[in-house]
């Protein structure tokens, strides 16, 4: 089997209904599992940002990204390896308060991971952690071993590229400039 890498794809699109469907269809066609997916408004008004991770080969990722970019309302799509981005994931752990109080080991573990307790009541407490996927998983494993986890949820990856500018800004400015030049020539 070919060696697969975890890639992060960052897509910017117009904020129009149905685009997520079109983007995921590119993965479905090639039977690629999406590991995580995060969609939200970007820093540019009317532009949505998608952060998608998947395991695949260098050859396939190139084709997938081009096919995503081909979708009419997609402005840009790029892919990155973990070295080329700054990435984080957020997780929330809902713990049983009585257990948390009964076993001091729980608080120690939470502190060790740099996680925070953001809500406490008599029934449950909520711990929040921002970090790398692997750390989030291992905190979960440790808390589970202490038998105190009621619920667990994680956000999926968000990432920014390590280059200086948000490329989509440059791209849109360049597109407009080119259009105006062609129109007036």
């Amino acid at each position: 089997m070919e060696n697969k890498t975890l890639y992060t794809i960052i897509v910017h699109s117009e904020n129009i209904a149905g685009i997520l469907n079109q983007i995921t269809a590119v993965f479905t066609r090639r039977q690629i599992n999406i590991e995580s997916l995060n969609v939200s408004a970007s820093s540019i008004k009317g532009v949505h940002k998608y952060t998608i991770t998947c395991w695949t080969t260098p050859d396939i990722i190139e084709k997938v990204v081009r096919q995503i970019e081909k979708k009419l309302d997609v402005i840009q799509a790029h892919y990155f390896t973990d070295k080329e981005i700054f990435l984080r994931e957020v997780a929330m752990y809902k713990l049983a308060t009585p257990r948390l109080e009964a076993n001091t080991e729980v608080s120690k573990v939470i502190r060790r991971y740099g996680a925070h307790i953001v809500e406490v009541n008599q029934v449950f407490s909520i711990v929040e952690m921002t970090g790398m996927s692997a750390d989030i998983t291992s905190l979960y494993e440790e808390l589970r071993a202490l038998d105190c986890v009621l619920q667990f949820v994680r956000s999926g990856r968000i990432a920014v590229s390590t280059s200086c500018f948000e490329r989509v800004n440059e791209y849109l400015a360049h597109r407009e400039e080119r259009y105006n030049k062609e129109k007036h020539s």
Binding site: S13, Q22, A25, Q67, L72, E176
Partner: protein, 567 residues
Amino acid sequence: MSKQQITGAEALMRSLEHEGVKTLFGYPGGAIMPVYDVLYDHRDRLNHILVRHEQGAAHAAQGFARVSGEVGVCLVTSGPGATNTITGVADAMIDSTPIVVIAGQVGTGLLGTDAFQEVDLVGVTQPISKWSYQIRRAEDVAWAVARAFYIARSGRPGPVVLDFAKNAQIGLTDYAPVELDYIRSYDPDPETDPKAVGEAVALINEAKKPLVLVGQGVELGNAQEELKAFVEKADIPCGCTLLGLSALPSDHRLNKGMLGMHGNLGPNVKTNECDVLIAVGMRFDDRVTGKLETYAKQAKVIHLDVDPSEIGKNVPVDVPVLGNCKRTLSLLTELIQKHDHTEWINSFQTYEEKEYNQVIRPEVFPTEGPINMGEVVNAVSEATRHEAVLVTDVGQNQMMACRYFKFSKNRSVVTSGGMGTMGFCLPAAIGATFGAPERTVCAFMGDGGLQMTMQELGTVMEQKAPVKMILMNNNYLGNVRQWQAMFFRHRYSFTPMMNPDYEKIASAYGIGYRRVMQREELQEGIAEMLKWDGAFLLEVCVVEEGNVLPMTPPGSSVNYMMLELDC
């Protein structure tokens, strides 16, 4: 005083007229009735062709678009009306044909409720269209239509679907025509990298054995003259893809014939001998490349294409030259040196002779036995002085037609290349008669394909569409039968087919008819068909178990072509 408001349906009519539409193919139904109602008042400006099935409307729009270069339009109702166009939409997508499908949709209040004749058309067509959009308000009509036509015809053309909710058809709106030539997320003509142009020029200048692959992109970009200038200056032999066949005249000295599984021996063998391969507006379909692992490995590959996602999709590319090939070909022609590749060009001759002796002569000029398919195609091509529009169905009729029909005019091949849609021919040929009314339209079909969309004979009758139908009847689903013979030990599983009496069918529709069974009658039959005023069905009873040769068997290398069958 405020301007008088109009309905969304009326806005659609005015928007279509603003886009220059004069012909549309359609079929009415419940959810599109408000549009049909206003269409009644626009009959003098919009020629609506009533088809007999919505699939026919989509293929007719394709045929219209392929020969005219304009956007083909079809108008259908929601639900089954819309889904019946799906094959045509998918076909137009893979063959880059500009069509706009306007389908009715239930009112927005009913969306998502499984209402009568409701289907999620945008959801269904998103993966198979260039753009699909639901019009939910009358005031969006002008914008959506302008965007649809701009997207369909610009860049790499393709199908656009407009899903037109009934309340938006009825609702009132102000109307002003919309001009649209810019969408920030869509680049129809990507910038050409001057460095890539420089590299391409250097490769072409140094090449000893260059080969050009001509695709439909040349026709779509109206770059036929630019292609000719380029290949003539560089003196490069060309192979054409199925859809690119009429981009360069068949009798041009540099046109070495068709590429692919049933193409000509020369360009296929030479693909694996050339040192520089220049692909222009083509997408390295598996029917062209054969086994990818051995495809043109010895060559540097230059790929000219307007669609960045095609670069390296199937074949690794050394130098991608992005942009409309009309522009990029001119750029290259200007920068390259004049060359003389006589020796290389002459080296095709051995293969041409071999193919002629072993395949072409026995197929086209037999002296005994039943009539061959290639013989029929050649005779029709000759009789039309190679000036006709060729429309084909899919299968043996298609391969034979594309092998043996000759072209002297651009935009002369209408065939379902990527999808391989049986039943495409008849409706597409009807569309072609409207797209190129001054030309003769020759439609080659098999008995299988004709029966898939035979209902469109009703459209032929009603519109007096002068389609010259050549039915090559072999009582088989011939292409599948050939594969069964070659790869499935002659087990003819459901490929023999019982046929109706086509004379009676033609007669029922008032269409001219003649059956040809003997070689001696063939010329006369063709002459009668061409002389006939209007549509004509020429049924030629051809050899039952005829085979298309040569053939690169699936999975084989492009330079391996069987010249005869050993089965």
